[in-house]
Amino acid sequence: MDIFKFLFAPILAAAMATGPVSAQDQSVALSGDVMLEKATVGSDGSTTTELVEPTTIVPGDRLVFGTDYTNTSSETVENFVVTNPLPEAVRLAPDAPADLTVSVDGGATWGTLSGLSIPVEGETPRPAEHADVTHVRWTLATVAAGASGRVEYPAIIR
């Protein structure tokens, strides 16, 4: 991963932990990354899409934010939930999975986008749109010992 131009912030595990758990007790490792989706038009006119390092990005570009998780412990973990606030400078891409669990109110309430709405002062609420999404979330009942996986969401730079 260090070939990418990413800045890695220190992991603030102690501050974020809700239980009396020290760092060495953590059972799961998370690793985030971001890629730029680049469309190239071939000589025959066909368009191919590939994920590349986001060395140059501008408004309108499409990014894919991913998080790899690994259960590094010897025990199964339960109620595994990955939550990802969207950076302000991006909006959820219109073709994000329709069944993705999202929030449009800063993480207070959750659901699929089609089931959420945005309050409009003095009027009936309007249906929520992709650009309204503030958080995305994935839930797994269990992650077995040693198992790993990846979650990701596509976003467009505003």
Binding site: A9, G32, T56, V58, G60, D61, T67, T83, A93
Partner: protein, 324 residues
Amino acid sequence: MEHAPFRLAAATLALAAALAAGAAHADGVSAGTLIENTASATYDDGSGSVTIPSNTVTVKVDELLDVTVTSLDSGPLSTGPGSAVLTFEVTNAGNGPEAYTLTANPAVAGNDFDSTIDGIAVDTNNNGVYDPGVDEVLTGPETTDVLAADDSLTVFVLVTVPTTAGDTDTSDVELLAAAVTGTGSPGTTFAGEGVDGADAIVGATGAATSATGSLLVGITDVDLTKSASVVDPFGGSGIVPGATITYTIVADVRGSGSVDDLVVTDAAPADTTYVTGSLRLDGAPLTDAGDTDQGSADATGISVDLGTVAGGTSHSVSFDVTID
């Protein structure tokens, strides 16, 4: 990555990328903005609920180079031979501060004549009208100040229409604006030349674009024709003392334009006397006094102020004198 349960189908991605390609627009995120993404995970490991964050990945938004140029003239600019001013607006359609090099091209295919470019000026006092001596005329290479993202600048192209231009001739003048950082096909990248050391990348406009302003020549001539008819006291047409001469002056305005402040004057000839109250415009009497109607007359002669007269119209002024 051993498993990707939430991965999208490749076909869907390709479609979305094609849609997104045209989605960049002027009010995008500013160049230099940092996009920081951090996920967190909560789980139950048997001893309680645990929340851990991921690392934060950060990417910086690069500078998009885009520009639009539009003509602010509502249609072809009516002008005669001589100076004319075409008005354009240059807008920074990118997401970072950028200056633009301006080039005016008077030789556009299809022109009836080519005008001469006298200069390119910016609307220094922002009133939308070219004010000589106030609005700065750029010196070559004509380059604007740095425009913030989404900002616009009104630009005047100062031209001279040659005297060889004929009535109803048209001529286009093209104004090209090109980003100083660089231009090229969309996607061309200038490494490190954007805001805060970010890259600069050419947007959909190629970072250079032009607009056309049009000149329409209106040349208007006034042709005056004077005629006289005589009635003598004996019912004939002898030029004898006491005979009345009626002078008629026809003003023909020709051409596609109009003339302003057209005034027809004539002096009563020597050895004649103006007949008071005889002044007429298009057959209708005018008073001799210098009052609200167009005409005035006295012993020395007559004057009729026709004001602005459109090409293709004609007016007739007449008055009587008696031979002394």
